[in-house]
């Protein structure tokens, strides 16, 4: 078993999907969380120069670096058989991950605003217009796969399903946003109830982002 190290900041952000892949697979890894805010920050420190694009997350597999969160997650998912069983299935998983990432990016446009009024206004608009449209598309895709009572792709867990769990937290961790998307809501719950995932969610550091 190679030695795995994930280096990111102390939050979910772009690192959490990678952490979920490790946890779902039951594969141990060093979960390095750097700080760039305190008086003695650990980022950039000596880490930045080791990162292929000078950014986090970066994973080190036996000290060999891999950058870009989705590429890291995909590499690991493939290693741990959580990526889809055929090239076509893997492509459908990739497609769903990219769509989820697009939604995450939209959240990123307002979640860091310091103007609380503007932030609330944009979040309200997102929740009312954009998010339902996106979730509707994902609900349809899920439904197309064995009526949506299993997983996003094929008949076993893939990192696309973990992506949904991560998205739920990203948009606020609120069931109400999924009221009109029962298949997605149920899939989110099913995956969160998996023993490895449930244990991790219970034990992981709480983070506002």
């Amino acid at each position: 078993m190679p030695n795995y190290k994930l280096v990111y900041f102390d939050g979910r952000g772009r690192g959490e999907l990678v952490r979920l892949v490790f946890k779902a697979a039951g594969v141990p890894f060093e979960d390095v969380r750097l700080d760039d805010e305190s008086a003695t920050p650990t980022w950039p420190g000596e880490w930045k120069a080791k990162c292929p694009f000078g950014q986090l997350p970066t994973a080190f597999i036996d000290d060999k670096p891999l950058a870009q969160s989705k590429s890291i997650a995909r590499y690991l998912a493939k290693e741990f058989k959580l990526a889809g069983n055929t090239n076509w299935e893997q492509a459908r998983v990739d497609m769903i991950i990219d769509a989820i990432d697009d939604i995450s990016t939209e959240v990123g446009k307002f979640m860091w605003l310091t103007d609380e009024t503007k932030k609330a206004e944009l979040r309200e608009k997102f929740n009312a217009e954009s998010l339902p449209r996106h979730l509707g598309n994902l609900e349809n895709i899920l439904k197309e796969n064995n009526s949506g009572n299993g997983y996003f792709v094929g008949d076993s867990l893939t990192w696309a399903d973990l992506g949904l769990v991560n998205l739920y937290d990203r948009v606020g961790g609120v069931d109400a946003l999924f009221t009109n998307f029962p298949l997605l809501a149920a899939l989110n719950k099913r995956v969160r109830d998996l023993p490895n995932i449930a244990a991790y969610i219970k034990a992981r550091p709480l983070s506002p982002w």
Binding site: L66, Q68, S71, N87, W88
Partner: protein
């Protein structure tokens, strides 16, 4: 051989890497270009797209969306993705970086305020782009001195993405003045017969 149909706007945009993959692999495909001007888009096409967006790829009657998922699927089908999981991941990472560069360009490409657009464009060209290209030049150098390909010892879609970025960055050698290895790889890829022929015969488009 399945029937391939790639559907996008009349431009390079988010479909060109996939077109280059087909061309480099010598695999025929239907290159469908949908116009917004005459109402073709959204027309009946939008409803066939899983996320209401293009590009989409039809493989026989199955559909795939999201440009990078499409590109990666095709690259893997045609052995242009990387030979091992690790090589594939390194190629993926490079594709992601090009996506990030593209995101930076979009920030000012659609800016309507001319002064602001000029300011953002200046910052991109003097700071952001050189920084990104610097990282990519280093990565290329790490692979056998950088005189071959980005990953492993044969063409992958990461190399095609670089050749494509050349056009997105203005179609001149200027941005690569300080990245000789990248410039060399771009030249090599664009001179490959199948790629050269496509570049010279494809529709000329502003994006």
């Amino acid at each position: 051989m399945p029937n391939y149909k790639l559907v996008y706007f009349p431009g390079r945009g988010r479909a060109e890497v996939s077109r280059l993959i087909f061309k480099a692999a010598g695999v025929p495909f239907e290159d469908v270009r949908i116009n917004t001007a005459n109402g073709e888009w959204p027309g009946e096409t939008k409803a066939k797209c899983p996320f209401g967006q293009m590009p989409v790829l039809f493989v026989d009657d199955k559909v795939l969306a999201q440009s990078k998922a499409i590109g990666r699927y095709l690259a893997r089908e045609f052995n242009l993705a990387g030979k091992t999981n690790w090589d594939q991941a390194r190629a993926d990472m490079i594709l992601d970086q090009f996506e990030d560069i593209g995101t930076e360009i979009y920030k000012f490409m659609f800016e309507k305020d001319a002064a602001k657009k000029a300011e953002l464009s200046e910052k991109f060209n003097s700071e952001t782009l050189p920084r990104h290209l610097g990282y990519l030049e280093n990565l290329l150098k790490e692979n056998n001195g950088g005189t071959g390909f980005f990953v492993g010892d044969s063409l992958t879609w990461a190399d095609l993405a670089l050749a494509n970025a050349y056009d997105h960055l203005g179609g001149t050698d200027a941005p690569f003045a300080n990245s000789p290895l990248l410039a060399g790889l771009i030249k090599r890829i664009r001179a490959t017969p199948s790629v050269a022929e496509w570049i010279s015969t494809r529709p000329q488009t502003p994006f």
